[in-house]
């Protein structure tokens, strides 16, 4: 098993990723702020600890794969991929610009990106295909991770895929739900209640872990435990705060699909930088 990184180091990285993401979104003038900030720790604990990859060789066949099914959270993935050396950090400021590899929603072709995503509900099926392919090729160490949004799992295809993963006993697959409780139209409880989520996944044949999605230790523990579950897929229900880290963005439905204006960016950065 890999050596776990120092939690304080991860926290510092998370702070930097949030700063990068806000700057990217502000530079782009559009994008999904709330759902990008909610999944920072979830993705960072994968690239900073759990995933086996080589950023100098993105096509290494024995690498682990990460699929961002909630494609609108891509600013965070882009910032993390740049942080871990897949492409220069300066490219981050080209987010959503014409001719950039950093498309508004992930497009295949960006180094380190495993699949185009953005139309919700498709990522888990794609992850299943990769998990089945790894099994066919007898790549026993390869693990596939797929991050979904909590609003995203309204999509029927997620549940088709959930059945497929348990039918094929895909224990090389680990799903994650960014449970930030908000979707575009409002709170999940008002728009389409997903509760009881734990029981839904369990009844579909999945091993369920429930964690604080901003707590690195809990996330890493869950990813480690999931790796040892045999004969069925695992899912980590990660409870998060939409817009995490910036008080005036947190838990605000209107921050789903907008970017900070220059003065808002300034306030947000001040708040983040004041953190230890």
């Amino acid at each position: 098993m890999k050596q776990r990184p120092d939690i304080n180091k991860l926290r510092k990285q998370a702070k930097q990723i949030r700063i990068d993401v806000l700057k990217m979104l502000a530079a782009a003038g559009s994008g999904h702020t709330g759902g990008s900030l909610s999944c920072v720790e979830i993705i960072l604990s994968l690239y900073g600890y759990k995933l086996r990859y080589n950023s100098k060789r993105p096509d290494w066949p024995d690498r682990d794969r990460f699929i961002l099914s909630k494609g609108h959270g891509c600013p965070t993935l882009y910032a993390i991929l740049a942080h871990f050396g897949y492409f220069p950090k300066k490219d981050l400021m080209d987010l959503r610009k014409f001719g950039s590899l950093l498309q508004g929603h992930p497009q295949l072709g960006l180094p380190g990106l495993e699949s185009s995503t953005g139309s919700l509900g498709m990522g888990l099926s794609i992850a299943n295909g990769m998990a089945l392919a790894a099994r066919l090729d007898k790549r026993k160490d390869v693990r596939i991770y797929c991050l979904m949004g909590d609003g995203e799992i309204d999509e029927g295809q997620i549940w088709e895929a959930a059945m497929t993963a348990s039918h094929y006993k895909l224990d090389n697959l680990c799903g994650i739900v960014d449970f930030n409780k908000l979707q575009i139209d409002g709170f999940l409880r008002d728009i389409k209640n997903i509760k009881p989520a734990r029981e839904k996944w369990r009844s579909f044949g999945w091993e369920v872990f429930e964690v604080d999605g901003h707590d690195f230790k809990q996330l890493m523990d869950a990813y480690d435990k999931a790796q040892h579950i045999k004969g069925k897929p695992s899912i980590v229900l990660a409870h998060t705060t939409k817009g995490k880290g910036v008080s005036f963005i947190e838990n605000k439905v209107e921050w789903h699909g907008i970017a900070p204006k220059p003065e808002e960016l300034e306030r947000a950065l001040k708040e983040l930088e004041s953190l230890s």
Binding site: P61, L108, E114, S115, M122, S125, A127, G129, M130, L132
Partner: protein
């Protein structure tokens, strides 16, 4: 017409050629996989399953999941063939085909059987009349409609070696075998079956046979038709179409499919901006299918050789009228 006069064995559904092609591919390439959505036997994927059970994946009645899973396979270097009825493969899962498959330009092949009203008794819900339209509008997508089982086998095998996605429109109803094993088949290259000077008939699928039959009827009327088997709707072989249209100056398109967005539209789009000759279109107009004997339906939907003959006469009349106008 409609009954087999040469013996049943010479008539086969194009889905059979597809099933045969899959087995041959499976033997040659271990990366070829077959994915099914509860129609394993109906799509002839069971022939592959018998030989390579470990490479056939069932998804139950879940076409959307099947298509996106194929993307995961293809991103891992596999060559999946997804099998379902055309309505579901192209319609139910359209956005998965768009975003998981065509957008990433993956080597995923979709075999949609039960194309057209010749499906017969199952009726409108199961008679795909929209797949050519739905699939050809997608960038990167290749669309093939084989005219018989021999061509379907070749199309299936060739699809695997095209790096992007392919949609194969296949039939349930048995069709007469009109092409030969040794005849060339290249995706994107139309085959001219007969050369004539008066009118160009362009057809695909079951309508190729209908066109050949129509050619005989036209001959008796003193009309000499070129007949083109346009097995690949996209990319369209504009070179072959233009060459013939510039000689005959009259075109008839034939499809067992909605004309709207279908073969008629595809040819009209190409000719309108290159060589705007009169065109008549034989196909289904603004209508769903219905239950019935396949050949009763072919007649009801005006897809018979007589309908093609009438269209040829109309287009030739328009061509002559155009010439009359030029004279004054």
């Amino acid at each position: 017409m409609g009954k087999n006069k040469q013996g049943e064995s010479t008539w086969k559904a194009t889905r059979d050629g597809y099933g045969k092609g899959l087995v041959e591919l499976g033997e040659k390439n271990k990366d070829v996989l077959v994915l099914t959505a509860d129609l394993t036997v109906s799509t002839r994927a069971n022939w592959f399953q018998e030989k390579f059970p470990e490479r056939l994946f069932t998804f139950g009645v879940a076409e959307q999941d099947m298509i996106s899973t194929a993307a995961g396979f293809a991103l891992s270097g596999k060559i999946p063939f997804c099998c379902s009825f055309g309505v579901f493969a192209s319609g139910r899962a359209w956005e998965q085909v768009r975003t998981s498959v065509a957008y990433m330009n993956l080597n995923i092949n979709i075999g949609g059987t039960h194309g057209g009203i010749s499906v017969g008794p199952d009726g409108a819900t199961h008679q795909a009349l929209e797949e050519i339209t739905l699939m050809r509008v997608l960038p990167n997508m290749t669309v093939i409609v084989p005219c018989d089982t021999v061509e379907a086998r070749k199309a299936t095998i060739n699809s695997a070696s095209i790096s992007g996605p392919v949609y194969l429109r296949l039939s349930r109803e048995k069709l007469p075998i009109i092409t030969k094993e040794q005849e060339p088949f290249t995706i994107g290259k139309a085959n001219v079956l007969k050369k004539g000077k008066d009118v160009t008939i362009i057809a695909c699928g079951i309508m190729v046979y209908q066109s050949l039959f129509a050619g005989e009827l036209l001959k008796k009327k003193g009309i000499d038709a070129t007949i083109i088997n346009l097995h690949t709707i996209k990319p369209i072989d504009i070179e072959t179409i233009l060459k013939s249209a510039s000689q005959t100056k009259a075109v008839v398109t034939c499809e067992e499919h909605l004309i709207a967005g279908g073969v008629g539209s595809a040819i009209a789009e190409s000719l309108a901006v290159t060589l705007p000759v009169p065109i008549e279109m034989v196909g289904v107009r603004n209508r769903f299918g219905e239950s019935g004997d396949p050949w009763v339906l072919m007649k009801e939907f005006h897809l018979m050789p007589e309908d093609i003959v009438a269209a040829c006469e109309r287009v030739i009349a328009r061509k002559k009228k155009g010439k009359d106008k030029e004279r004054f």
